[in-house]
């Protein structure tokens, strides 16, 4: 692996001048379409905060700040989160372990009511600066409509996770326009750091860098299927299947003017194709600024049902009617290389013949 991950302060900001003007109009377009979304959602959500609002960036963490660990979806044991707890404490943060860690209700980290109470408590506790979801799995959608996110207006905090946690990240972006962190979770912290691969360690450290306010700046090698170009917009996305299952609900994302990243695992190729068609048919590709295709762990075709098209074929075909830049194999997804992304924050995506750069503005 010769991927390079440069985490540093902004470089070459000068080239972004012209792009910025474009972004302003894109952002306006997004704002107006967002109000349409909120009208649709309003019938379903009685106590709804105002939807059109400026980007809310939670305060970055300083040594001594507290990070809560909770399980809104799948279950995990106290022992299993120890590597994460130790590492986070070594970064100088306090860890508050939620009541759901160690709880188990079949596949869930406790009953719905327990997971709801734990997450709500962390949202409401002003002494907690960030909420790290212990793992994904399935279950966040059981809580999302009952969670009261209004404490975040007084005390914005970072919510951290991916996979099933895409439900929460999308919901927060759409309804509160608050930034969050798409990254590995407790279950990906290695037991033995000495044996962990450098990319895994770098992925874990990128969470700290995101939390402490470093500008995210990722440079990855080019890929033959990439479509060159530059884009500027809010970075949103997540697990593709999860995004599909939010469609039609008030947690659904409005992708106009954004840089969208998608990843998935365990899906058949035909299903991935159907999900990209879903993006198109729900208008999510129409006004996209850029597309980042992360890792896709494809489920092998059943015998006799060979799909005959690769992920690259599927995406290349779907993006043909549009002109936005597209990159493949970006290190985000269910894999060792899964770098922290600041969800909802403005980024530039620069896809060139020699490299791909994703840079937080």
């Amino acid at each position: 692996m010769n991927r390079k991950n440069f985490l540093s302060s902004v470089l070459g900001l000068g080239v972004m001048g012209p792009a910025f003007a474009t972004t302003q109009s894109r952002h306006n377009a997004k704002t107006s379409s967002r109000s349409t979304t909120s009208t649709r959602g309003a019938a379903l959500l009685p106590p709804s905060p105002p939807k059109v609002q400026p980007l809310l960036i939670p305060p970055y963490l300083k040594p001594g700040d507290s990070i809560g660990i909770t399980c809104p979806a799948g279950d995990i044991t106290l022992k299993e989160i120890q590597p994460a707890v130790q590492q986070i404490e070594s970064w100088g943060f306090h860890v508050k372990v939620g009541d759901t860690v160690g709880k188990k209700d079949f596949i869930f980290g406790g009953a719905d009511a327990e997971r709801l109470a734990d997450f709500q408590q962390m949202l409401s506790d002003p002494s907690i600066s960030a909420i790290l979801c212990a793992r994904g799995g399935y279950g966040a959608v059981h809580l999302i409509d009952q969670l009261d996110f209004s404490p975040l207006y007084q005390h914005p905090k970072w919510v951290i996770g991916f996979s099933d946690i895409t439900v929460i990240l999308c919901h927060l972006h759409t309804n509160l326009n608050i930034a969050s962190i798409h990254s590995k979770m407790c279950n990906s912290f290695p037991d033995d750091w000495a044996k962990a691969e450098p990319v895994q360690i770098a992925s874990i450290f990128s969470i700290r860098q995101a939390l402490t306010g470093e500008k995210m700046n990722y440079t990855v090698p080019p890929q033959d299927h990439n479509r060159l170009g530059s884009a500027h917009g809010q970075l949103i996305g997540g697990n593709l299947k999860t995004i599909e299952t939010l469609a039609g609900t008030h947690s659904d994302i409005d992708t106009a003017g954004t840089i969208l990243f998608v990843e998935d695992t365990g899906e058949y190729l035909y299903s991935i194709d159907r999900m990209f068609w879903h993006l198109q048919r729900t208008g999510k590709l129409d006004r996209l600024a850029g597309l980042i295709v992360g890792g896709f762990k494809v489920k092998p075709d059943d015998p006799g049902e060979e799909y005959g098209r690769s992920l690259y074929d599927i995406v290349t075909e779907r993006i043909k009617p549009y002109s936005f830049p597209v990159c493949f194999d970006f290190p985000v997804g269910h894999q060792k290389e899964n770098y922290a992304l600041k969800y909802g924050m403005p980024h530039t995506l620069d896809i060139r013949t020699d490299q791909v750069n994703l840079l937080e503005i």
Binding site: V141, E244, H278, R281, E305
Partner: protein, 303 residues
Amino acid sequence: MTIIPPYLNPGDCIAIVCPAGYMSLDRVQTCIDTLLQWGYRVRVGKTVGGPSDNYFSGSDDERLADLQQMLDDPAVNAILCGRGGYGLSRIIDRIDFARFQKNPKWIIGYSDITILHQHIETHFDIATLHSPMAGAFNDGGAETSYVQSLRVALAGQPSGYSCPSHPFNRVGRAAAPLTGGNLTLLAHLAGSSSASDTKGRLLFLEDVGEYLYNIDRMLRQLKRSGRLDRLAGLIVGSFTELKDTQRPFGARVEDIVLDCIREYEYPVCFGFPVGHAIENVALKTNVEYELTVTASGSALTEC
């Protein structure tokens, strides 16, 4: 007002096409023979047993052209989809329904064909037939009451079905137009222009080969997108070849369904003969039926 396509008379023509997955001609032969036996003429589209060597029965253009031709041809009175699989998502927005709208005809199928049913219901308010397809005629299937129910429906005789009582049923009675189909596809259509409004309707659901957690997730999507709260009634068909995660999900389909709709009061019928099992009756979508769920059993009768 829902438009009911003309029912079929002896000598009318049924076209068979494959708008999604590939199907060999020999798998369709019994269906062809049976339809002829029923007194209809049969036209076999180019996408049935064509030269395709991949998953689909033809390229998008070929599948679209075949279906389009049958929709447009006034000599075709009904279109039977050979099989489902996957593929309608890729062509639905390119189908021109203008002639079909002027001269409606029965569109027959299920599974992936749910997309056609939902799209036609939403855009044109024309009745369609959720029903067994060509494969169901094989291995003696043509003689079953399920395939025969298609014959009855095509001939214009009102249909009525009953099923035994089920411990999870919620008793009640409701008369309303039918809508529904494959749960995965109803979820997939959410947010698109093909998604139907379920308000005041009898919704029927079925699925195959899905994980229990995913059934839960899709039902919650329907609920969160406002498509379970104002139903007239819910009809739960078969959920076959279910998969479970390594660590069990811990709930059956019945538990999942009832948990999702516990705050609503409409009648619910479980175990209805619709789905990917042999038990799959022809249902006229968009047509009014009366659902009666009592302690002794359920009935669904065309009004």
